[in-house]
């Protein structure tokens, strides 16, 4: 193989590596920024920052698989929306670069609201004393209420959607055993 040929092959390989690196970096989004989709009315809620200790606790609660999957980064905790304040603690909305998480006092629910088939993120949980149930969530644009049904399809309660978010207060009287097989439906 002549020297010219070797140089041609080497140049070809280097150009291929460089171009595939560039294309792959763009495709995989090497520097994703947390944000909420514009078609989520909850994106208009005021944002604030959480202190580092709270951010770490929430990050642990979401767990490494969720953090990675939904693109939760330190920047996420500077774009927090408050969905509800309850005696047991607040419910936050934490944006990621590829989804978002609703975080309650001891539970989280993450998803990609607005993606096909995903009309909401809903989370309800038992209160720490195990007596009551509290919850909150967000829905995509156009939803006026969120209906909670039992496993057999019978209605349990309907929650109004305001600014793209909804809240289940303990005063609604839902009890932890009723959480089993709960079904959430966005009503337009």
């Amino acid at each position: 193989m002549s020297r010219r040929t070797r140089l041609t092959v080497l140049a070809s390989v280097l150009v291929t590596i460089a171009s595939s690196f560039g294309v792959a970096s763009y495709a995989f989004g090497s520097n994703p920024v947390p944000h909420l989709r514009s078609d989520l009315p909850a994106s208009m809620l005021p944002t604030f920052s959480l202190d580092q200790a709270t951010a770490v606790r929430i990050n642990d609660l979401i767990g490494a698989p969720g953090v990675q999957r939904f693109g939760i980064t330190p920047d996420s905790y500077h774009q927090v929306r408050r969905l509800s304040d309850t005696p047991s603690g607040p419910f936050y909305l934490i944006p990621g670069s590829s989804g978002a998480c609703v975080v309650g006092p001891s539970a989280t629910a993450c998803g990609e609201p607005g993606a096909p088939g995903e009309t909401m993120i809903a989370l309800v949980q038992a209160t720490p004393d195990g007596v009551g149930v509290i919850g909150a969530g967000i829905s995509t644009d156009g939803a006026t209420q969120v209906s909670l049904k039992r496993g057999d399809g019978s209605p349990l309660i309907s929650l109004p959607v305001e600014q793209g978010s909804f809240v289940l207060n303990e005063s609604a009287g839902i009890k932890p055993p009723q959480l089993v097989n709960l079904q959430f439906t966005a009503v337009r």
Partner: protein
């Protein structure tokens, strides 16, 4: 001469394909480092959900899905773990309604949470976990079910 050129072209093509892989790997190493912990099988091997033992924080637990006849429908639908901090987590393939519960200190079934999302976690106080299971029902005829037996 033509055959030599064809061989030469083939070599260059192979080298360039390798170069593409090198470039992609440099840009996104997770693509090549990803490992799956979910088990997969096309045969029906379980008629009751199996228990998993061991520390789930270092040993991921898998869930199994069943239909009415309790024959395995799909083996790689959810992941489930009960970690040292007594946080349970699981993930589903789509935005489904889910609920999760387990036995409390008194052996009573306790429902700590429910939701509609593709991923959820539940953390509880107490520090001990016992038998836990998650369950999803999103079409009226398909059940997802898994169990974990772990004591700190």
């Amino acid at each position: 001469m033509t055959s030599r050129r064809v061989r030469y072209g083939l070599y260059v093509a192979i080298i360039n394909i390798a170069a593409i892989l090198v470039g992609v790997a440099a840009a996104h190493p997770q693509t090549f480092l990803h490992t799956s912990t979910a088990s997969a099988s096309n045969t029906c091997t379980h008629y009751t959900a199996p228990y998993f033992t061991g520390n789930p924080s270092t040993q991921p637990q898998n869930c199994y899905a069943f239909i009415w006849d309790y024959c395995c429908y799909n083996h790689n639908t959810t992941g489930f773990a009960l970690r040292d901090s007594n946080i349970a987590s699981f993930a589903t393939g789509g935005g489904q309604n889910w609920s999760l519960w387990y036995e409390n200190n008194l052996g009573q079934v306790f429902s700590p949470g429910s939701g509609s999302s593709t991923y959820g976690t539940i953390g509880t106080s107490g520090g001990q976990s016992r038998k836990a299971f998650c369950y999803l029902d999103f079409s009226g005829f398909r059940d997802y079910y898994c169990t974990t037996l772990y004591t700190t």
